[in-house]
Structure formats: C-alpha cells, structure tokens
Symmetry: C2
Subunit: 579 residues, 2 copies
C-alpha cells in the first residue's frame, strides 16, 4: 500500500476516536490500526450504539477535517503517559507493556481536539484528507487484545481512499462481490453443501460441484503430464515420526490432527505432502540423468482450524492441493523455476488471470533461530529466487520474516474480474529437507550428491480456487467447467421424445446435457435454465423436429437453428479451447 | 466345501495328534480344526520340534491310515471327561467352559490309538483317506485361544484332498501363487512401497503403480457414468456424531480412528461413506422421478487394524472403495439389483473373472439384538435378495449371522487365473439407515415416502483389487492397465535420435512409452524390458530408420516391422477393447 494512503487511514482512525469521545466522553479507547482498504477503532462504550450512530460520527469527522487540524507527535516516558491517560485503562495496559519491553513511546495530538498513544504514521494536516472519500461501514464485537478472557469491545470499521472516485469504485466492487458470494451461488447452483454432522470446514461436493472440482484436477494433471511430471498416490495419514523427521512436528503441532492407533502409535492426518513424497523418492535409486524428477499429486491436507475461522470454500479444514515436489540438481534450479513460471502463466491465462502481484518471502533476519539450515545456504537461496523472478520479467516485493522454516518462497497473487487479489501459487526453494531425509542422486562422477527441492502448488487449494472461480465468473463458468453444458427444452409434451433423442446424441459424444421436464411453461423453463447459468439452452418444437435442428441460445445470445452436428462441433471446439 | 472332504481333514487332524503323542507322549493337546484346504493342530511340546520332524509324523499317520481304524463318538458328562483328560490341561479348560454353557460334550476315539474331546464330524474309517493325498506343510506359533496372555503353542499345518491329483494341483498352485506374490512383483515392477515412517498398512503408490490404480478408478467411473450415476466428493473425516446417528459408533469404535480437534469436538476418520452420502442426499429435495439416485464416489475409508494383521495391498489400513449408494423406491429394488449384477458381469468379464461364488448373508436368527429394524422388514429384505440372485440365474449359498447390522447382503467371490477365490463385490440392502437419517422423496401422490438403500462396491477395495490383479495376471497386465505400454530400444547410439522421434510420436497420441538408454547391450535391454513385463518392445536400427518403421515384439511374439501408424492403430484398438 502507498505510504500516504496508509497515513490517511491511520489519521482517520484518530478522528473517529475523537468524534466518539466528543459524543460520549466516558468511552474507553482500545486500539485503532490501518487494515486493507481502511481502518478500525475498538471502543468500550457506556451505552450500546447502533449502525444509525455511524452517520453522526462521519459528520463529526468531516467537521474535524474541515478544521485543518495538524498531527504532531512527541516522545514521552511512562510516568508522563500514565498521567496523561489516567482515565484510559486500555492505554495504561499498553503503556505498561511497552515500558516493560523498553520501547520508545510517543503520543500524537490532532489539533487541540484529541491525543492518542501511538507509534506514528500520520499525515501532517487533515487538509490532506478528501472528506468525501471515507465511510464508516459497520460495527462488530472484539475482545481486548483478541483474547476472549478480556473485556468485550465494540469495533467500528471504516474504509478510506485518496478520492471519492476510488471509494465509489470500492463500494461498487463490494456490492458486486456480495452478489457473487460463492457460498450463496454454491447453494443456488447446487455445487456444495455443509452438514452440521460432518462438521464446519468440511464441504460436501454435490454432483454439479464435483464436476467442476474434477475438471480442475484433470486440467492441472494434463498440463503437468505434458511436462513429464510423475504422479504418485500417498495415504492421508502417517506416523507422527515422519513429521518429527521433517521438523513439522514441534512447529505445527496445533495445526496437525493427531491420534493414537490400536498399536499405540501416534498418528497424524497429513498436514503436508512433502515428507511422504520424499519417502517415495528415497524408495528407488536415482541418477543425475533422472533429474528433475517431478513428484506430483492432487491430494488433501488437514488443518486443525478453529470452526470460527473457516469460511465457505476459501478456508476449509481439509484442503486439496495440486502439489508437486521438484527434485532438482543445484544447477537446475533456475531453469526449473522457469518451467514452473511458464506453467503458471499458461494456467492463469486459461482463467483470464493476467494481472499478478509477486512477493518473495525471505527470513526474518532478527530471528535466525526460527529457521533450519545455515546462513550461506539461505543467502544463496534467496538470491536464486530473486534472480529467477527478475528473469521472468515481473515486478515483485520482498517481505522479511515470511519464509517457510526450511527455505524462502515466491508467492503469486492474481487479480480477479472485479479487482480483488487472491494468493494462489507458492514456490518454495528448499535445501534443508533433502538433508533431513538424506536424499541423494548418483552424479556423472559416480558419487552421491544432494539434490534441492522446489515445493509448488499452482492452484493452491482446489477448494479455495473453486470458490475464487465461482466469484470470478459470477457462476457463469466457461463451457469446459460448466456442470451442465446444455439443457434441452421441448416446447410441448409431444416434442419431449424429440428432446430425448437430442439429449441422447449430446450425451453420446460426452457432453453434459439434461432434458427439462414438461410440467412447467416454456418461459419458466427457459428462465430456470438462465438462473442455473447453463450455457447452452436448446429449444425444440415442430419445426426443429421436422428439420432435425435445435433452436440454440448461448448465454442468452440467439445462435439460430443449428443441426445437431454443427452444435456438437461448436461446443467441442469451445471446450477444447477452454474459453 | 463338500462334507466328506471336511470330515477327512478333521480326521487327519486327530491322526496328527495321535502321531505326535506316539512320538512325544508328554505333549499337551490344544485344538485341531479344519481350515481352507486342510487342517491344523496346536500342541505344547516338552522340547522344540522342527520341519524335519514333519516327515516322520506323516509316515506315522500313513501307518495309522493303513490300520483301518474306525472313528466312534460317545456323549459324556463333565466328570467323566475331566477324568479322561486329567493330564491334558487345555482340554480341561474347554470342558469347564462347555459345562458352564450347558453344551452336550462328546469324546471321539480313533481305533484304540487315540481319543479326543470333539464335537464330531469324522469319516467312519481311515480307509476313506487316500494316504498320498495329504501333507504336513509348516510349523507356526499360536497362543492358546488366540490370546497373547495365554501359553504359546506350536501349530502344525496340513493340507489334504480327496486324491493325490488334487493335492498335486494344489501344491502346484501354491508354488505359482508364490511366484506371483504381489508384494514381490510390486517391488520388482516398481508399483508400490511401504515406509516405516509412514507406517505399516499404508502403501505409497509409485508412478507406475499410480497408473494402474487410476486406470481402475477411471474404468469404474466410465462404466458407472454410462448408467447415469451421480458422482460426489466428501471429506475423509466427520464429527463422531455422524457415526452415532448411523449407529456405527458403539458397534465399530475399535475400528474407527478417533481424535479431538481444536474446538474440543470428537472426530473420526471415516470408516464408511454411507452417512456422508446420506447427508448429501438430504441436502436437496427429491421426487419419485429422480429415483433411483445413485451416489457414487471412489474414496478412502480407514480401519484401525493392528499392524500384525496388515498384508501388502490385500489388507491395508486405508482402503479406497468404488462405493455407490443407490437410493431407490421400494418398487425399484429388484430392477436396481439387476442393473448392479449386469454391471458386475461386465466389470468382472473385463478382467476375465467368469467363475463366481455367491453368498447371501442373513441375520443370526439366535441373536436378533445384534441388528437394527423389525423382523418383518428383515424377512422381506432377505427374500428380495434371494429372489434377485435367482433371477440372475446363479447358484448361491445362504449364511446365517453374516449380515450387516442394518441389513442382509450378497457377497460375490470370483476365481482367479490360478483357481483361488477372492471376495469382491458386496451388495447390501438397507431399510434401516433411511429411517436413521429421515431420508425421503415426494411420491406421485405428493406426500413423503421413505426410500431404501443399496450399498454397493464392485471392486471392493481398489488397493486389494490391484493386489489380486497383479497375481491374477502374474504382472503381465493387459495393455490398457500397463504402466509402460511400449519401450523403444535403439540398436546403437546413432539410432537414439530416431528412437526419440518414435517415442515422441507415441507420446503425442497419449501412449505410455519410454526410450531405453544406450549404455547397455541390445540383448540386455531387451531382456530388461521383458523382466519389467512391458507389452510392446520396439527395436529400431538402420533399416527401420530408413523405412520409418519399428521392429515390433508383443509379449515376446514377433509382429515384424510395422509403420508407426499401424503400430499406433493396433495399440489403440487393443486399449479400447481392454484386452
């Protein structure tokens, strides 16, 4: 995010708190940080407030903005601050903690109207804020410091941009996103459901949703087969020892569902596929000529998420990854990353994702103890990733402290059709797991060498990717992904037989087609097909039955009367081109 | 099994015990039942014995047979028996138990040489035994009554048939089975491995094994899609409550891996798919016109087997079922079973399994408390299954006490290429789970009706089926299942390029082909391809490169020089016909 916009949002949080105190002077203040697209502030009110109050608060904030107030900060010690914030218990709590950590503390004033304990990051004067470019959006409950044992506070959310145009665009996007909500469409289109008996975070895919899921899986497989990937199949569990060896156990225990079997062994549902794939690599000898060896599998990993944290398909407790472990010689790392970025371009392009954001995640240099492996290897790995992305020719940012414990990674985020970005592919470079698993290949020199690993999932989680696609397409899937590709509708009962004949011809060539029942009006059946977002609607009556044709509509557009042969050819071409 | 052969085997067990007592009079006797193909007897010896002793024991048994000894039984009370077997502690143990249960007890004499506590089932005289038609095969350890807390005994196994010809055939079959052992071939052919870190009972499928697994899965899916089955996708876990509702929890707890998640909920890895599929059925309304509704999925269930009980692919702890739940109206049950038996005939026929054994498993009439649902429904269900198999026109046996707790079932066993039988398909009829899950459909009369369920898995466990197929084909898979369908071998380094060209052409049309490296002799490379059981071996050299042909061998048979076009056509036809 641009620094100035961040400062505007942070300053608006202060103005919100000032407006709240002006209206209800006894309110206790929590914290007010910047978030994506805006800000929030947490308050402990003496009386309940409602959405209706937000308009008043906005009006007051605009008045403050018109007052051309300056933001000025000043370093202070704990004693001074304790005195200043003596009636604000949550601020006193923070002062105590910061003082214990020996952190420098500052207090920021907004003109003469408000003062807040704050580490800074403000505009200089409220004149920098466009008073029509922000909006308070909603209320929510929140615990002080996120801990349910603490006091419950009320959070007021706001959004803010540089100008009104951007705010309006954002609000339009939100409305559009709500219409496209994959949980809503998923239900309407009969794609997936949740069951309270199966549990939250575990979607059940209905027949129509299963088609989309499987087509995505098959698509990735076909693309990977063209590149000579090797596919394997592993169980969804392993002895806990496997994850001790990989180092995951001890770092991710809370995430891994663990159990004890009848032999008294500790078992884990797999939280990641790498150690299984390494065992597969190690089961057979390998020569330098076999590398890169790409071990691919679309398989499910499990996460002990809390039920409150799961959401539709985008955050689930059992997620299916299109995973690959590329076992490579050290001299093959860069060329292998080029193979991966090529594949990524091709896959993303298929779905119309052309605008990427790229982040290279490296170590937190202040906490080397959080990572496996020595310094030189880390530096080498980080440099290789940065060089590879440069060669790819795309812009990127570098984030410290976001690497996996065994190596740095590249994260790729794509922009969907309504402008939201989603993190999809991750490429991790790993010199450490080959050590843990004593992986090797025989070099041209006849002796053993250590390979490196690239961990890659292109779609990421297939469940999540499917959720994103539902919203990206607003349910109007391209033909190759559509659960029902065509619906035949007979204008009346006596043409139902001809409808059956057309249906059989479409099914015979592998198209996913249905015949509408005859107990509704023609108009209602056509509208129903549109509601279900079925691409091809084929109406048949007297004339069509006589001439052996179908009156064809493709996504509402009239294609006229086509012979079945021409229709099939057109549909098959469209499927092949994945458009 | 024929009753007389069973009596011969049981009588041989007595003769074995008699021979042991003659040689080592202080031996304590356990039990000596009939098993498949033969019998065993458990002994507590005062000194260790070895395989070398088995010949002597056989010789003694033959002497007894020559003595024309009669078997005669007599009912006795506990006091009499305790006296008779006062020096046989294990027999005293049995007498105590039988007396407690109030069971009638008999003691059987063999001529004047031996007497044993036994419920009968003997031939009248040893003249009925062919002395050349039995063999003592091996020694093994066993615990008294199978409990590891009891004394350890030595078990002597024997096989026995009506005549020497049958015994010889059986021994030949055993030797053949050993050669075909899927664990051995699976390793040699690089199909699957086990990892001590992942755990016993959890196979890891290598790329070549994954091909076979997936082709089996695809084959079943294609066959089911032709019949209009609906495919779904469910998670591998569920809240324990789901299995309380289905009644599995409380009956199969020991089999179900259970764990607790971060919300404190009890979770189970799924031990069966039915309750998930019922939740899918219930997620949408259904009309009588939608039935039969066939909910299909190839998915994995988990069993808490002890590690000592798992074996290769045929007994695993995570097994993948080609499962279907047929939701049917009561008037559709018989026609639906006909659809299933048709599919079964087609699937089995594809693998050359044409000889079936059919068992209909009904309730144990003495323990109605072990089953859900009322008597009338059980009687109706059992009759429906028997009638359906009669209509199928195949012979069957009825077994009491082998039904599932919610309904009776049909089990189908097939004979493989070396005469062994394997249980594959199970068809269960179930009126009870629709009650538990309150499943319904709207009838023609507009009111709610209760459907019935048929639970069906045709291959059963795909892992186990694959293990059976490896042995059935002795690793020589038909072309459509072969992991590598063709290997191109260039006669020398300078034809390697032409080999690459051929390889690319085969791969382009989707054939699974490889090119042999050039660092071995031609003969060695051809032999290697045979060892790996690759169906097509394509040798190329000067002449082939000039004429654009390949010298083709199919499973060792010379097909001469073929153009690539003809070769591809032949291979594709063979794949399509699944031969």
């Amino acid at each position: 995010m641009e620094q100035n916009l961040e400062n505007i949002r942070h300053s608006l949080a202060h103005l919100l708190a000032a407006a709240v105190l002006k209206k209800w002077p006894d309110t206790k203040l929590g914290i007010g940080p910047v978030i994506e697209n805006g800000f929030y502030y947490d308050f402990q009110f003496t009386q309940p407030i409602s959405d209706a109050d937000l308009k008043d608060l906005e009006k007051q904030m605009r008045k403050f903005i018109g007052g051309k107030l300056a933001f000025t900060g000043k370093e202070m010690n704990a004693a001074e601050l304790n005195k200043l914030y003596s009636d604000q218990p949550f601020k006193l709590d923070l002062i105590e903690e910061y003082a214990k950590d020996g952190r420098a503390m500052t207090s920021y004033r907004t003109g003469e109207i408000f003062e807040d304990l704050c580490r800074g990051g403000h505009i200089e004067n409220t004149t920098e804020i466009d008073p029509d470019a922000f909006k308070l959006t909603k209320l929510a409950g929140a615990y002080w410091r996120g801990d349910e044992k603490n006091a419950q506070l009320t959070r007021i959310y706001g959004v803010a941009f540089e100008n009104k145009e951007k705010l309006d665009a954002y609000i339009t996007m939100l409305a559009e996103a709500e219409k496209r909500d994959h949980k809503k469409l998923g239900k309407e289109m009969g794609l997936f459901v949740f069951s309270s008996l199966v549990g939250p975070g575990f979607p059940l895919f209905l027949p129509k949703g299963e088609v989309i899921f499987r087509k995505l899986e098959e698509f990735m497989r076909e693309e990977k087969e063209k590149l000579g990937y090797s596919f394997v199949r592993i169980p969804h569990v392993a002895k806990a020892e496997l994850y001790s060896k990989s180092g995951h156990l001890g770092k991710y225990d809370a995430m891994m569902p663990l159990m004890t079997d009848n032999d008294g062994n500790k078992f884990a549902m797999k939280a990641m596929n790498c150690p299984h794939h390494f065992e597969i690599y190690n089961a057979q000898p390998h020569s330098y000529k076999d590398l890169p060896y790409r071990i691919a599998e679309t398989t499910t990993v499990y996460r002990n998420e809390k039920s409150g944290e799961v959401s539709g398909l985008v955050r689930v407790k059992a997620l299916t990854q299109d995973d690959t472990h590329h076992v490579v010689r050290h001299d093959q790392i860069e060329s292998e990353i080029a193979v991966i970025t090529d594949l990524m371009d091709r896959v993303y392009g298929t779905f119309g994702f052309t605008d990427y954001k790229i982040q290279i995640s490296i170590r937190d240099p202040h906490h080397p103890e959080k990572y496996f492996g020595d310094n030189a290897l880390w530096e080498k790995s980080e440099k290789i990733l940065i060089d590879a992305v440069r060669k790819w020719g795309r812009r990127f940012v570098v984030e410290e402290g976001e690497a996996a414990f065994y190596g740095p990674k590249i994260d790729i985020m794509v922009k969907d059709s309504i402008g939201r970005t989603w993190q999809l592919t991750t490429v991790q470079l790993d010199f450490n797991q080959p050590e843990n698993f004593d992986m090797s290949y025989t070099g041209e020199d006849g002796s053993k060498h250590r390979p490196a690993i690239l961990h890659v999932a292109i779609l990421g989680s297939v469940e999540r990717f499917m959720g994103i696609l539902i919203e990206h397409y607003a349910g109007h899937f391209p033909l190759w992904l559509s659960p029902v590709q065509a619906r035949v509708i007979a204008v009346g009962e006596k043409f139902q037989d001809y409808g059956e004949k057309i249906l059989a011809e479409l099914k015979d060539v592998g198209l996913r087609a249905e015949l509408a029942g005859s107990n509704e009006t023609l108009g209602k059946r056509i509208r129903q097909a549109q509601v279900e977002k079925i691409p091809y609607v084929l109406v048949v009556g007297e004339e069509e039955a006589t001439n052996g044709t179908v009156a064809t509509k493709l996504r509402g557009a009239d294609l006229g009367k086509l012979s079945v042969k021409d229709l099939v050819e057109q549909m098959q071409a469209e499927i092949k081109e994945k458009k």
